[in-house]
C-alpha cells in the first residue's frame, strides 16, 4: 500500500485550472523529485497533498485512509477537522522560507508540537530533539532564537522540527531556493542522509543534480499536468518529451 496516494486531482483558482487530473502514488522509502517551470502547478500539488490547499475533485489518502467524505468523481468534501489532524501526523513539510516560530527557541520549535499536539512525554521529546539537532549539526544552538540563526541553520532546524513529529514521509517545497549556493550543499547533504535512511520523501526543487543522484523517480510537470515521469537517468538524461528537453536545456 502506498504511503501517499493522490488520484484524479483537479484544482482551479478563479476558474483557471492549475492542476488537471493528477494522479500520484508514493511508496514506502521512495524519494520522488518533482521538477518543472514556475507556474507548472508543482507547489500547488504539494499544498494540496499537505492539506494547506483544498482540492476541487479527486481523492487524497495516506496509508489507505482518505481525507475525503465525498464519492469519487464528485466535488471534494473534506472530513471533519479532527479527522484531518490525525491524517496530518503522517507527514511533515519543509517550507522554502522555513516558517520557524520566531518567539520560540530552537528547542521549543522542535518540542512544542510533539508535546502539545501529540501529547508525548516532554522528557522523551527533549531527548529526541537533542539527537535530531546533533544529526543536523546544530547541537550547540538549542537555546538560540531563529532570528539569531543563518538561513542554512534555520532550514536545518526546520527539517529537524518536521522529523521530531516522527512522520511517515516528508515534503520539501523548494527547500534551498531561499539560500546561497554554498549553503545549499549542506541542506542537500542532510536530505541525502535522510534518503539513505529510507525516509519517504517528495521534493519540489530546481536542483537537477540532487534529483539525478538521490531520486528514485523524477516527475516533470508543466501546465498543470504530469508530462513525464520515470527513473532519473531516463527523464533527466534522455527525456522523451520536447517540453522536458527544453526545460532541462534552459536550466543547464
Amino acid at each position: 500500500m502506498p504511503v501517499l496516494s493522490i488520484s484524479h486531482l483537479k484544482k482551479s483558482f478563479d476558474g483557471k485550472e492549475v492542476l488537471s487530473d493528477i494522479s500520484l502514488a508514493v511508496n514506502q522509502g521512495e524519494v520522488v523529485v518533482i521538477i518543472g517551470p514556475s507556474g507548472s502547478g508543482k507547489s500547488t500539488l504539494l499544498r494540496c497533498a499537505t492539506l494547506l490547499e483544498t482540492m476541487d475533485y479527486g481523492d487524497l489518502s495516506y496509508n489507505g485512509v482518505s481525507a475525503m467524505d465525498s464519492a469519487p468523481g464528485r466535488p471534494c468534501v473534506y472530513k471533519p477537522e479532527a479527522e484531518l489532524r490525525k491524517l496530518k501526523s503522517n507527514f511533515g513539510l519543509v517550507f522554502q522560507d522555513f516558517n520557524l516560530f520566531p518567539h520560540f527557541t530552537v528547542m521549543q520549535n522542535l518540542c512544542d508540537a510533539p508535546v502539545h499536539v501529540q501529547k508525548r512525554d516532554p522528557e522523551e521529546v527533549k531527548k529526541q530533539a537533542l539527537s535530531l539537532l546533533a544529526k543536523v549539526g546544530l547541537s550547540d544552538r538549542g537555546g538560540a532564537y531563529p532570528g539569531q540563526l543563518s538561513g542554512g541553520q534555520k532550514q536545518r532546524v526546520a527539517i529537524a522540527r518536521a522529523l521530531c513529529m516522527n512522520p511517515k514521509m516528508l515534503f520539501f517545497d523548494e527547500p534551498t531556493s531561499a539560500l546561497d549556493p554554498e549553503i545549499t550543499a549542506g541542506i542537500l547533504r542532510v536530505m541525502r542522509q535522510l534518503a539513505a535512511e529510507h525516509m519517504t520523501m517528495v521534493v519540489v526543487t530546481h536542483e537537477i543534480d540532487f534529483a539525478r543522484r538521490v531520486a528514485d523517480r523524477v516527475i516533470f510537470m508543466d501546465g498543470g499536468v504530469i508530462v513525464e515521469e520515470g527513473k532519473p537517468e531516463d527523464v533527466i538524461d534522455h527525456p522523451g518529451n520536447a517540453r522536458t528537453q527544453e526545460f532541462l536545456r534552459k536550466l543547464s
Binding site: 499537505t50 492539506l51 494547506l52 477537522e81 489532524r85 496530518k88 501526523s89 507527514f91 511533515g92 513539510l93 517550507f95 522560507d97 516558517n99 520557524l100 516560530f101 520566531p102 518567539h103 520560540f104 512544542d112 508540537a113 502539545h116 499536539v117 501529540q118 532564537y145 531563529p146 532570528g147 522540527r161 513529529m165
Partner: protein
C-alpha cells in the same frame, strides 16, 4: 421662545452640550485690544445661562444682558460682538483682552476686588430647585442629599466660598455630596434623572428653567443667600466702564432699561439706580489682583494630587476592561460568520466616528432617558469607566486586527501542518507574535488615554483636570492648569518608559 424639556429634545441637548463645551476651542481669536479702541464691544458670556445669555431656538445668542449690551453698543456707535466663553476661562479671556467685559448675570459679591465693576443692576438670590414630588420641603431637608451647583457659580460660593456664612457652610457639610456641573441643562438633567436631589442656583435662572419645565420642578421657600449682578471689566479699565455706566444711566432715565427688563421678565429683580447699587463701583479698591506664591503652588499641587487619584483610577480601569473587550471585538470582526462580523464593524464604526464626549453623555444619561431608570450619584463614575472602556475597545480592536493580520501567513501554515488546532494556533503561535507587533500603536493609545481622562469633566466627574479648571477659576490664575499639564506629562513620561521596557522585554526573540 423658551426651551422646553421633552423626550424629543434629549438628543439635541446632548449634542448641544457637547458642541458648547467645544465651542471655545474653535472660535476665532478676537482683537487683543481691551477697551474697544477699534469701535467694537466684545462681551463674554456663558451661552447656557438663560435668561441672561443663551442660544435661542433660531440659533441666535439672546438674553437680558445681551439686549442691554446691544443697546449700549448702539448708543455709542460700537459694533457688538457676542463671544460665548467657557465660564472657567473667563479670567483668562478678560485678562488677555480677547473679551472687553463679562456681562452675564455676573455675581459681584465675593469678587468685589477682582474686577472693575459697573453699578449693580440685578439683585439676585440663590434658591433651591427640587423635583415636584420630592420630599424636600426646607433647607434642613437637604441633609444627606446630593445637591448640584454650577462650577464657579454664586451658589457654589455661597456654600464653600471664603465669604460663605457659617450657616451655609454647615448646611453644605450636611449634604451627601455637593456636585459641580458645567451648565444648567446638565444640572436639570441630573435632577430629573434622579442622580441629584436638588439644584441650587440664581433665582432668575431658576424662574426661567421652571417656566420651561412643564411643572416638573418647584423651588424651596427659603433662600440660601442674596447677591447682586454687575458688569465685570478688567481690573483698572475704568475708561470703558465709565462709558458703559454712563450709557446705562441714560437708559435708566429714559425708561429703556425698565422696558428691556420687562421683556425678559426681570422687572422684580433689577436694582439699577436704587440706593447702594453703585457702592462697589464707587469704593473700588486698588490692587487686589491675586498673587501666587510658592506656598500657593504647593497647595495647588496638593489639591491636584487628590484629583490625580481619580485620573489614575479611570486610566487603569479603562485599560483593564478595554484590552480584553477589544480582543473580543477583534474576534467578532474577523469571524467568518456574518452576524458577529457586522456587529463588530458597526460597533467600531460608531465608536470611532463620534466624539468620545458625546458617548460619555449617552452612557451617563441613556439609562434614564431611554429606560427611565433612576440614576444614582455613583453611576457617574461607572458611566465614565464604561464610556472610556467601550470607546478604547473599538480602537484596540482595530490595532489587534492589524497585529494578527501582520503575522506572516507561513506561521499559520506551519502550525496547520504540525497539527495544531485553531485554538492552539492562536494561543501558542499567533497571539505572542501579535502582542509584540501591537506594542507601538498600543503605547500611542495608552498615552492618549492618559490625556483623554480629562474628558470625564463632561459628566462632572471630578478628576484632575476638572479640579484644575475649578482651582484656576477660583484663584483667577491659569497656573493650576499648567500644573495639571505637568502631572500629565510626568505620568506619560513614566507610561512611555514602562511601555518601552515591556516592548523591549517582548522583543526577546529579535
Amino acid at each position: 421662545m423658551r426651551a422646553k424639556y421633552g423626550k424629543w429634545t434629549v438628543p439635541l441637548v446632548l449634542l448641544f452640550a457637547a458642541a458648547a463645551v467645544m465651542a471655545p476651542a474653535v472660535r476665532t481669536e478676537a482683537s487683543g485690544s481691551a477697551g474697544n479702541d477699534d469701535n467694537t464691544l466684545i462681551v463674554g458670556f456663558d451661552a447656557e445661562f438663560p435668561p441672561y445669555g443663551y442660544k435661542d431656538e433660531n440659533g441666535e445668542y439672546v438674553g437680558f444682558d445681551l439686549s442691554l449690551a446691544q443697546e449700549v453698543a448702539d448708543r455709542n456707535g460700537w459694533t457688538l460682538i457676542k463671544q460665548p466663553i467657557d465660564w472657567n476661562s473667563k479670567d483668562m479671556e478678560l485678562n488677555s483682552g480677547s473679551i472687553d467685559c463679562i456681562w452675564n448675570g455676573f455675581t459681584m459679591d465675593g469678587r468685589e476686588n477682582e474686577y472693575t465693576w459697573s453699578s449693580a443692576y440685578v439683585d439676585n438670590s440663590q434658591v433651591v430647585a427640587v423635583k415636584r414630588d420630592s420630599k424636600i420641603q426646607s433647607l434642613d431637608d437637604l441633609k444627606g442629599k446630593t445637591v448640584i451647583v454650577q462650577q464657579d457659580s454664586s451658589a457654589l460660593a455661597a456654600f464653600t466660598g471664603e465669604d460663605a456664612t457659617d450657616e451655609n457652610k454647615a448646611l453644605a457639610a450636611s449634604f451627601a455630596a455637593l456636585q459641580q456641573v458645567s451648565d444648567y441643562n446638565s444640572a436639570f438633567m441630573n435632577l430629573e434623572s434622579g442622580v441629584a436631589d436638588a439644584v441650587c442656583l440664581d433665582i432668575g435662572v431658576a424662574n426661567y428653567q421652571l417656566a420651561g419645565s412643564g411643572g416638573k420642578f418647584r423651588l424651596l421657600p427659603e433662600q440660601v443667600s442674596s447677591e447682586h449682578y454687575g458688569i465685570g471689566f478688567k481690573k483698572g479699565n475704568t475708561a470703558l466702564r465709565d462709558k458703559v455706566q454712563a450709557t446705562l444711566n441714560e437708559m435708566l432715565s429714559d425708561g429703556t432699561f425698565a422696558r428691556i427688563a420687562d421683556e425678559w421678565g426681570l422687572s422684580d429683580a433689577v436694582c439699577l439706580g436704587q440706593e447702594g447699587a453703585d457702592a462697589v463701583m464707587r469704593e473700588e479698591t486698588e490692587g487686589g489682583g491675586s498673587g501666587f506664591g510658592a506656598a500657593d503652588f504647593l497647595d495647588v499641587m496638593r489639591q491636584l494630587l487628590a484629583g490625580f487619584g481619580a485620573t489614575l483610577m479611570i486610566f487603569f480601569l479603562t485599560l483593564l476592561f478595554s484590552l480584553p473587550l477589544g480582543l473580543l471585538v477583534t474576534f467578532m470582526r474577523m469571524s467568518r460568520h456574518a452576524v458577529p462580523h457586522w456587529i463588530a464593524r458597526f460597533f467600531i464604526s460608531i465608536l470611532r466616528g463620534t466624539p468620545l464626549m458625546l458617548q460619555l453623555l449617552v452612557v451617563f444619561f441613556g439609562p434614564y432617558y431611554v429606560f427611565r431608570i433612576s440614576l444614582s450619584n455613583s453611576w457617574r463614575f461607572w458611566a465614565v469607566i464604561i464610556g472610556f472602556s467601550v470607546n478604547y475597545a473599538a480602537y484596540f480592536a482595530e490595532i489587534f486586527r492589524a497585529g494578527i493580520e501582520g503575522v506572516p501567513r507561513g506561521q499559520r501554515e506551519a502550525a496547520q501542518v504540525l497539527g495544531y488546532t485553531k485554538h492552539q494556533t492562536f494561543t501558542r503561535i499567533i497571539f505572542p507574535q501579535m502582542v509584540r507587533r501591537v506594542m507601538p500603536p498600543v503605547t500611542n493609545e495608552v498615552i492618549t488615554l492618559v490625556k483623554d481622562t480629562s474628558l470625564a469633566f463632561a459628566l462632572a466627574y471630578t478628576e484632575m483636570f476638572t479640579l484644575a479648571k475649578q482651582i484656576a477659576a477660583t484663584r483667577s490664575n491659569i497656573l493650576p492648569l499648567f500644573a495639571a499639564g505637568l502631572f500629565y506629562y510626568i505620568f506619560n513620561f513614566l507610561v512611555e518608559f514602562a511601555m518601552g521596557r515591556i516592548e523591549k522585554k517582548l522583543s526577546y526573540f529579535e
